[in-house]
Subunit: 284 residues, 4 copies
């Protein structure tokens, strides 16, 4: 696959944006290979993802953003520029359940997900073998004497030391403090084992069983200060029945969780996501 | 299709129930054509649906329940006996949106659903033409001067006068009083336009849009005193995206609503549902 | 909803198309409210759907295509211009099964689908009552003495007399001749009761049962000379099991058929479909 | 989870079977915890899965089948008796694509699937590292000088030497000879990367792309002599669009393949499957 540039844009909607952006790409010698836009008439906003070739650019790659400044200024745009070969340094945090961790490690190993996993961190010591199998350093950081703050500070230090650009909560069951969420804002993706906003918090499969739902789900979202309240990236569901007890719901759910987390990570890695308020635009 | 009998049974679980029920059917000259059972180990309960032939029964159909009494007594069973050619006298209640009403009327007309629809009742006068098209009497029962009680009493009187055995809330937007729900307990099926328990109450598509979910749903349930809290019979979902505004969510949802309501009605008509607490067992 | 114009474009891919089209719309005083493009790198093709406002156009609506000619010529484009308030004169053809016919009639009646249904044609006389309920003229055109050609000629004459712009095969079981398909090319939409290309031709539910599939489907497609070979517009599926005999598969399938046909018709009515070879681009 | 016994039964349908089987279990001191039956009226066949407790059996576990002989003989039953703690010695065969192999290995490692994987065999040498990560012996058995027979004989010898009870084709792209299929009949499960019977054979994602389908699927089935013709155990699908080129279809499909293969393996491990002709009964 060729290397491309990706512009992610948002601004108030007005006539002429699409023409200006397309003109810019043509002017610098790029060819648009994918472009998708979204207009939110209710909020009066415009969002766009433009992917274009870079092999015949007439500006340095480092100069693209600067060259774009006149367009951005004209429309008051928020702009992100990224390239398609990005492979972020990644930390995976997991508690007891191994399935999401095992899946993320295996997909990074086979190249299915472009993750450069630098470390696995867990508040349990169960996963050393799994991390080791994939030759990823494992850090056991338990909560000692109930001191959640110390544990979190240690996790943060490990992530910073490793240069993490992305933090994957692969069924990490400790709630993160606002300061931690703040520091890693927009870079933490969590998988929650319910179809949010149903069944926030603990034991969602138990909650689902008690409510007698006929379908269960999983939700991947960016983490914000509100528990399970962050912008949803991806969800999926599967049918269940009265025959499924809580353990069976959990087992069926595990298939969903790995699939949904994988899709969300891919969208993030491919720069397909714009966050607007508490919602996401995920370009196809 | 041949006419069959259906036994719906529930009792505390103990050894020997299946053998006793199967023996009973064999003894009275029936042949079991479908049998499904469910054991809830958590609650220690046993549930069963047994469908059997009646053309060579050695007892009168009216005598089946009596003949079954020794088995029922031995295990402390709750028992319902029904026959597969049941076609309940049905009232359909609908407010402004016509799609569920139109669908239920059309499916009763083509024989897809074994409903004997005696009347359509609405608090708006929009649907007279639709009811008339299918030659079903239409009753416009508006709320006058805010007197919800009077309106509800009139609806109740209409239903009783017509001998309704089943009440379908086909997007009926007035909340029913406890006394009404009580009187028609187990015989009112509602379609709610969300994936319950997410988005209870008014404007669920608006709520879904604001939360930024990636999937929307519809839920058919028996009506109980708690708003949108009754035992869920059937749910289904469909994928949506950031491109879908509230109106588009509502449109996509309409397809779901008619499908989910139709499946729930069919399960009810085929005596496939047992209610246990706030959950349903829906036999396949 | 405001009235908009829709340009559907296709041409060989080259740099500058998006900029040129966006520039054109801005130049004539339109504002793009939706734009989606698709590049097929394998075939080297570019496809686009551009929806724009028309209330402040600086050219007559009739003059838009002419004004666009320079752009179209420069890129060698195939161009279609349509407006969003299009409500095509429609003929519905149906054989014995009533469910798709009933659904299309009901959705046109409630405004769910912007169809102006001029007539219903059937080779059986079962549906006169249904058409009459919705006040649509019904034509019973049977095959007499095995003369399929005469029957087809009569159907064609009826459609032409009524000015049909769209022909919906709502479970019409007679295979159309090449001359008929040719005359109505791009304007006939069929619903086939299988997940094509599996189970082409007669009795697909029987075929599905005999193969023991765990999922069944329905497919809406434009009709071409090859039986069930035309460009697929929409498909959907539902889970089935060993418990489902052929009749049950057919019943479950009916829900799918109406939903899939409805979605395909909507995409057609909203000018979202471009046909390329034997495939469709269906813009979101 | 307690250890249970599972009886899988099939015979011609006649009155009294359910009563006789239930009576038998009660008589030997078992308690039925799950029972599901299926009657195929078209073929006149009866199938049943009965799971029962064994902790208070009044016969030896080894004697259960013999004790059941009178019932089996009376109805002419085919009978299989198994126990729920079965963990079959398993061989995984894989060609180049690693995702199904990695998933099966990971799920066996985490205990998600009760597989005792004795060896991995591949006609490519790419997967030694992956097998090694999970500490499973890896055997590279390439086709040398086009001699497929020799390669197959070597694979067979490895499987027999290891005592394999189950052979998982985790995207193994060599077609097995009839003698091999015969020897391992009922014990080979394959994952095919299409929604069978559509797109049999090579490059199904290419075929799907060229046909322009809107949904792709994956199918797990028992392997028989006819290529991709064996009894289907499980299928699932996912929605695709015109934007998805062949590589993207393949990527989306990989998620399906691992999920579908996992579900099929679980059903096999839990003794939920009866094969009848070319179809399966998969008890819930």
């Amino acid at each position: 696959m060729s290397r491309h540039a990706v512009l992610l844009l948002s601004c108030r909607d007005r006539p002429g944006i699409v023409a200006a952006v397309a003109g810019f790409v043509t002017d610098i010698g790029g060819n648009i290979v994918e472009a998708e836009q979204h207009t939110d008439p209710q909020d009066g906003m415009f969002f766009q993802r433009v992917q274009f070739t870079v092999d015949h650019l007439q500006v340095d790659e480092d100069g693209v953003l600067e060259a774009f400044t006149p367009v951005a200024d004209r429309f008051g745009m928020e702009v992100q520029l990224r390239f398609t070969d990005w492979q972020p340094r990644t930390a995976v945090l997991a508690s007891k359940p191994p399935h999401c961790l095992a899946d993320v490690l295996a997909r990074a190993y086979t190249g299915e997900l472009a993750l450069d996993i630098g470390l696995v961190v867990s508040n349990h010591d169960d996963h050393a073998g799994l991390a080791d199998a994939f030759k990823v350093p494992f850090h056991f950081v338990p909560v000692v004497d109930g001191d959640r703050g110390a544990q979190e500070a240690e996790v943060d230090a490990l992530l910073r030391a490793d240069g993490a650009e992305l933090v994957v909560l692969a069924r990490y069951m400790l709630i993160l403090s606002p300061w931690f969420v703040d520091r890693w804002a927009g870079r933490i993706i969590n998988i929650h084992h319910s179809f949010l906003p149903a069944f926030v918090g603990a034991s969602p499969y138990r909650q689902a069983h008690d409510r007698g739902v006929k379908i269960i789900g999983a939700t991947a979202h960016y983490v914000t200060a509100g528990l399970d309240q962050g912008p949803i990236i991806e969800q999926d569901v599967t049918r269940v029945s009265h025959r499924d007890d809580v353990a069976t719901l959990a087992r069926r759910g595990r298939d969903l969780e790995v699939t949904v987390l994988g899709r969300a990570l891919r969208a993030h890695l491919e720069h397909r996501i714009l966050v607007w308020g508490n919602r996401t635009i995920v370009f196809g």
